[in-house]
Symmetry: C2
Subunit: 220 residues, 2 copies
């Protein structure tokens, strides 16, 4: 057999993953309507698994669906994004605390590798992907799936605005991100949950404040 995979993921999962990528990468921007038939044809399936995929992405906070009117990538206003960031400030430290004790040596090596690459200077798209992997990796051993999922949802639904922010501000203040990441890593290595939580909250809070100084991101 050509497929080595042990478990074929259901077609709906596969389609959801593809659409998720396209939304997170900005290929499908906020406001754009998702046409079931168009997606089905493009991905070579019937409309049914697309419908299920849309439900999945709705649950992920990436789409909003209205009965008989279809699905679209939601526009968020500045107040909504602010609240999403405040949710992150409260939930992510909990995920970090739950995950921290189980972080392995391999995790720390990967985290360091990611941070080195960020510091080497990368374009916006690469930074967004690395930054996402960095933080979600620090939460990855959190044993409670609901918490991991909630955090992922928050990252998903704010990704477009993080990109818009980065594209506006460029790499000017990147040294702050790097300093915060380094401090966080150092606290994690010491297994100092208090410091780790403090640095993480500061990191998210600062981002929120800088973001709210650019209301032009939210005009559409």
């Amino acid at each position: 057999m050509s497929e080595v995979s042990g478990q074929e993921p259901a077609a709906s999962e596969r389609i959801a993953a593809i659409l998720r990528d396209e939304i997170l990468s900005g290929k499908i921007p906020p406001g754009q309507r998702i046409l079931q038939e168009e997606v089905a044809e493009r991905l070579g399936s019937s409309r049914l698994p697309v419908r299920e995929a849309i439900r999945i992405l709705d649950a992920d906070g990436l789409l909003e669906v209205e009965a008989n009117k279809g699905a679209r990538v939601p526009y968020l206003d500045i107040n909504q994004v602010e609240v999403l960031y405040r949710m992150r400030e409260r939930l992510e430290p909990l995920a970090l605390i739950e995950s921290m004790p189980a972080l392995t040596e391999a995790d720390f090596e990967r985290l360091d590798e990611i941070q080195v690459r960020i510091e080497a200077g990368v374009d916006v798209q690469a930074f967004l992907e690395l930054d996402r992997e960095f933080h979600l990796l620090t939460y990855s051993h959190c044993p409670t799936e609901q918490l991991r999922d909630s955090v992922t949802r928050l990252w998903n639904s704010t990704s477009h605005y993080r990109r818009a922010f980065m594209e506006i501000t460029g790499a000017r203040r990147m040294w702050i991100v790097n300093a915060e990441h380094r401090l966080l890593l150092e606290a994690l290595a010491r297994h100092d949950s208090q410091d780790a939580e403090r640095y993480l909250v500061g990191h998210i809070q600062r981002t929120r404040k800088e973001l709210s100084q650019h209301p032009e991101i939210f005009t559409h």
Copy 2:
């Protein structure tokens, strides 16, 4: 036409609502498998809207689905429920703060009415429903849908264990709940967000601690 309703909610929504009720009320307990065909026949529809309903309830945290293996109400162990309570301790104060300024006179009247009925003494099922309405009403004006949904998810996925706890402990320590609710109401009436947050966190924390003293709830 006999139906006055302006907007028929989709069948999948209707079915999801029915199943949600049955899960929250305990008619469908943790561990029980959901058979699509059985539900479809019972509710007089085809399997398709049931499938969509299952996706919705999965997103609500009420079901867990596995590819090709169907959906079931998840068992949670004591550690998972502890983390869900810690999430509540962090998220619900935020929802309360966001909602508080928009609470109306009618809301306060309803809150008082609910509390009076709780104090009058009710059975477990009625208490659970009133308590849920009480708290969710205090969050109802939170303008961010994601936050309201997250809080609702947390209430949903812990409801079974709240019931089990109440059935074990009975009304013995109900006076504490009543005192906490009254203090919370009073702080809300004063528009004192600091006090309201403090009382709310204490309320949830105490419940979590009492719950964790009854590990027998989680044996199955």
